[in-house]
C-alpha cells in the first residue's frame, strides 16, 4: 500500500505538467491533479501491479478532464475571465514570458481531445499505443488527432507571431 502511494506521489510533477498544459490556469490544473489523486487513492485496487503508475494516473485524469469539459460546455462555469484576473492581481509566480503565453494560448485553441493526444505523445513521451489506451481510442485515431493538433498549433503560433509583428510595427 505504501509502495503504491509512493509510486503515485512520485508522478505528481508530471501530472501537474500535463494538467497545466491542458488547462493553462494553475489553480484549475492543480484542482484536476488533486481530483485525480483522490480518485486514484480511493481505487488503488484497480491499479494492477506491473502497470505503469503514470499511464494509470493519466487515464484517471483524462476521464476527469473530459467530465469537466462536458460540464463546462453544458453550462459555462468559469473562474474570472483572464482580463479581469489580470487587472486585479499580477502575482510574480504567474509570470509568463511572451513565448510561454503564446504557446499556452495556442494549446488552448486546440480542441481538448486533440490537445490531449498531442501532449501525451509529444510532451509526455507516450507511444501511440499507450496514448490510445489512456484515451480509450484506436491507435489510428491517436495519429490523426496528433496530425490535426500539430496543424492547429502551427496556425495559432503563426497568428500570434503575426499579431506581435503588427504591434511592433505600430509602435
Amino acid at each position: 500500500m505504501d509502495d503504491k502511494r509512493r509510486a503515485i506521489l512520485a508522478e505528481i510533477p508530471r501530472l501537474r505538467r500535463y494538467a497545466r498544459a491542458l488547462l493553462r490556469d494553475r489553480e484549475a490544473a492543480d484542482d484536476l491533479v488533486q481530483d485525480s489523486l483522490e480518485r486514484a487513492f480511493s481505487r488503488l485496487d484497480n491499479w494492477r501491479s506491473g502497470d505503469s503508475p503514470q499511464r494509470w494516473l493519466f487515464t484517471i485524469m483524462h476521464n476527469l478532464f473530459i467530465d469537466q469539459k462536458r460540464r463546462v460546455v453544458r453550462r459555462e462555469v468559469l473562474s474570472l475571465s483572464q482580463d479581469v484576473a489580470d487587472s486585479m492581481v499580477s502575482p510574480p509566480t504567474q509570470f509568463e514570458s511572451v513565448v510561454s503565453r503564446e504557446v499556452f494560448e495556442a494549446l488552448q485553441a486546440i480542441a481538448p481531445e486533440r490537445r490531449e493526444a498531442l501532449l501525451l505523445v509529444a510532451v509526455e513521451g507516450l507511444t501511440y499505443a499507450e496514448a490510445a489506451t489512456v484515451l480509450g481510442i484506436a491507435t489510428g485515431t491517436v495519429m490523426s488527432r496528433i496530425a490535426r493538433a500539430r496543424e492547429e498549433l502551427r496556425a495559432s503560433l503563426d497568428d500570434a507571431a503575426r499579431r506581435r509583428t503588427i504591434r511592433v510595427v505600430e509602435k
Binding site: 505538467r17 492543480d30 453550462r75 462555469v77 486585479m88 502575482p91 504557446v103 509529444a122 500539430r150
Partner: protein
C-alpha cells in the same frame, strides 16, 4: 530501394518515434527530395521543442502541500464533505499566505461545487424575475431596513446584514423572502443611479463548507457565488464581472463580520 511510398503521416510517425528504424534512411531521402515536406517536418519538430521547453518549468516547481498531502481515504467515505473540506483547507492556506492579493486570487477557483452552483442558479433566476419589476421589485423597502433585515434573518435562521454597497455606487432598494428547494432564501436588491440592479441572494446551507468565489454565467445574467458560515451566497446581475466581483468582495467582508458577532 524504398519498399514503400511516404506521405505526410510519416512525418508524425518519425517525429513521435513510431517509425521502424529500418525505414528511416529511406524516409530521410524522401524528405530531402521534397523540400515542402522537409520544411514541414522541421517546423513540427521546432513546435514540439517549444512545447517541451515552455512546460519543462512545471516539473521543477515545488509540489503544493494540498497535492503531496492528499489523504488515503477508502472509497465509501469519499463522498462530499471530506473532499470539499480538504480543498477548502488548500484555499485557506492560499488565503493566509497570500495577503490581500492572494486573498482575491485564492477566492477564485475553477472547481465546480454542485450545491454552490445551485445557489447561483437560483440567485440568477430570482434576479432576472424581480430586477425587471417596475412597481413590485421588493416586498419590503429600504425605508424599513431594520425590519427587513430582522425579518429575513429570522426566516433564514442566520444573522444577516444588508451589505453597504454605496462605495460601489449601489443603494439598497429593499428585499424579499423566496423559496429555495424547501428552504427560505433572502434576496436584497440594489440599484445604481442609472437604474441598473444587482441582488444578493442568501440561503442557509448548514452542511456546506467554505468555498472560493466562483462565477456562473447564464443567459441574461451572471453571479459570483460562494459558500461559508453555513450559508450559500450569490451576487447576481447583468453588470460587468469586475463590478460583480467588487460587490461580492464587499458582501463577503461585511457578512463575515456580521457572522462573527
Amino acid at each position: 530501394m524504398t519498399s514503400r511510398e511516404f506521405s505526410e503521416n510519416d512525418i508524425h510517425l518519425a517525429l513521435d518515434g513510431e517509425m521502424p528504424v529500418e525505414e528511416r534512411p529511406a524516409f530521410e531521402r524522401w524528405l530531402d527530395a521534397h523540400p515542402d515536406m522537409h520544411a514541414r517536418s522541421h517546423r513540427f519538430a521546432t513546435d514540439r521543442d517549444r512545447l517541451r521547453e515552455v512546460l519543462a518549468g512545471v516539473l521543477d516547481e515545488p509540489v503544493p502541500p494540498r497535492l503531496s498531502g492528499v489523504p488515503l481515504i477508502p472509497e465509501d467515505t469519499m463522498k462530499g464533505p471530506p473532499r470539499l473540506l480538504w480543498r477548502s483547507l488548500g484555499a485557506a492556506a492560499i488565503l493566509i499566505i497570500g495577503g490581500v492579493g492572494g486573498f482575491i486570487l485564492g477566492k477564485v477557483n475553477w472547481g465546480v461545487s454542485v450545491s454552490g452552483e445551485n445557489v447561483a442558479d437560483r440567485a440568477i433566476a430570482a434576479h432576472i424575475l424581480y430586477a425587471s419589476e417596475k412597481r413590485h421589485v421588493v416586498e419590503v423597502g429600504a425605508d424599513q431596513k431594520d425590519h427587513l433585515v430582522g425579518w429575513l434573518s429570522k426566516r433564514i435562521g442566520v444573522r444577516l446584514v444588508a451589505p453597504d454597497f454605496s462605495g460601489a455606487g449601489y443603494e439598497l432598494v429593499g428585499g424579499r423572502l423566496l423559496p429555495s428547494a424547501h428552504r427560505a432564501a433572502a434576496q436584497f436588491m440594489y440599484q445604481d443611479r442609472s437604474g441598473a440592479r444587482i441582488s444578493l441572494y442568501v440561503v442557509r446551507d448548514p452542511g456546506s463548507h467554505e468555498t472560493s468565489f466562483r462565477l456562473l454565467k447564464e443567459e441574461g445574467a451572471r453571479a459570483f457565488y460562494w459558500l461559508g458560515n453555513g450559508c450559500g451566497y450569490a451576487v447576481a446581475g447583468e453588470v460587468s464581472e469586475n463590478t460583480l466581483l467588487t460587490l461580492a468582495n464587499l458582501a463577503y467582508t461585511q457578512l463575515e463580520v456580521a457572522g462573527a458577532e
